[in-house]
Symmetry: C2
Subunit: 279 residues, 2 copies
Amino acid sequence: MQSRAHQLHREGRRIAFVPTMGFLHTGHLSLMRIARERGDILVISIFVNPTQFAPGEDFEAYPRDMPRDLGLAESVGTDIVFTPDNEMMYAEGFQTYVSPENLSRGMCGKSRPIFFRGVATVVTKLFNIVRPDIAVFGEKDYQQLVIIRRMVRDLDFGIEIVGGPTVRENDGLAMSSRNAYLRPDQRAAALSLYQALQLSRTLVKAGERQADKIIAAAKRHIASFDGTAIDYVVIVDPETLDDMTVVDRPARMALAVKVGATRLIDNMALGEDLADRPA
Amino acid sequence: MQSRAHQLHREGRRIAFVPTMGFLHTGHLSLMRIARERGDILVISIFVNPTQFAPGEDFEAYPRDMPRDLGLAESVGTDIVFTPDNEMMYAEGFQTYVSPENLSRGMCGKSRPIFFRGVATVVTKLFNIVRPDIAVFGEKDYQQLVIIRRMVRDLDFGIEIVGGPTVRENDGLAMSSRNAYLRPDQRAAALSLYQALQLSRTLVKAGERQADKIIAAAKRHIASFDGTAIDYVVIVDPETLDDMTVVDRPARMALAVKVGATRLIDNMALGEDLADRPA
């Protein structure tokens, strides 16, 4: 893959890249279409990365379907599907990690302390192997997107990072490979994430500026569904991910909720129409 | 620099790179000559990297002489001297570090716990900016060389790492920019490092196999000089840097000694002629 990438660059081609863990859904395909438009060569990777799963998380159970994924990748015009295996990515004695600091401490980093180190490390490896000019990440994983942007700037990768809008089911549920874990009777509870975000947007549009009040309303809505357990609901600065107390400029609301055994995340912009005051 | 590197690659040129902290001496020039032979374009960097110095170490005092360095760089046929500044390398909000784990814990990592994280981070940045095909590091900084090799493999940089032999003064003192700190009356004590290594080689050649006995003899020799304070003397596996108890295969002896306020390091191969038995 790496020598192929070098060859493509020598030919003056622009490589656009979408890293995935496979079990592709419409959300992935939309990222791939964005990448397809922005580069000459579309490379995707399919690799369920063990270093971002803690013991007891769903590394083994994570859904996989390579034949179906290859068909879907082809359907959007993917040129190269890179599918490394664990032995190739993490050889014996592996010990060099890329660690994002402040940005990885809150939100998902609280309940998943090694998650973003694993993500930053595998993305560094994939960037070094695939050598993209541009890479597309979903806004669905908002904290990840912010951390990758920071990493690319901090470590001088020289890669343009593009965020792709979250794609939702007809009922509003954010597309996720982990939605496959949901039983039909859990679907209504899973929808509470999207509804809580919509509710919060409505409150901000109606003039509510107190983050704690908005968060409380969102939590109440989610908690009103049986089988939900809130991990976090936050309103943060879209770049620093620092908590905001007053929504007087564009903000990001993000939340993580367990529905049964399935951990779901979602996020949405709040107050985009408010003046963006530099900090 | 990065776009220049891309352009050079498109032209099919091979970039050879020597990262330095400047105040160049014959040791650096020998690395640059090695790189000169191995690539079409010789790039060196001069950057005193703040993230590898702890508070109280010699970041401010570290010797600098850019005009002299530029002349020396030219004298060995350097094509590009890359001289970034702190603001460019560590912008506000910088927070992504490359952390080598096991290999960085012993030896210099014990007394300088953030040192190798700083080195791995800045070398990652320099690799991403300069985009070398090959990079040359001095064997003088042996632990650093092993860590960089491991990092390049772990993070898939696809860069060939070459170790350049230690260059010594006529009396045997390993060349180092920090030798500039030594007062004339400290020179004899500084020489004890080289002498202890030579003594150890002699012992191994004479049949001594017990690492603790060799280390004790080396320490005795160094301690016999006024003004020396031993940080460590170890005999380690040349790749894993694990301590060896019996020198029955090729090993590396490494040591760090303070001479007055100046911390000096040196190292040497032991038992190269012994059969190299795979672990």
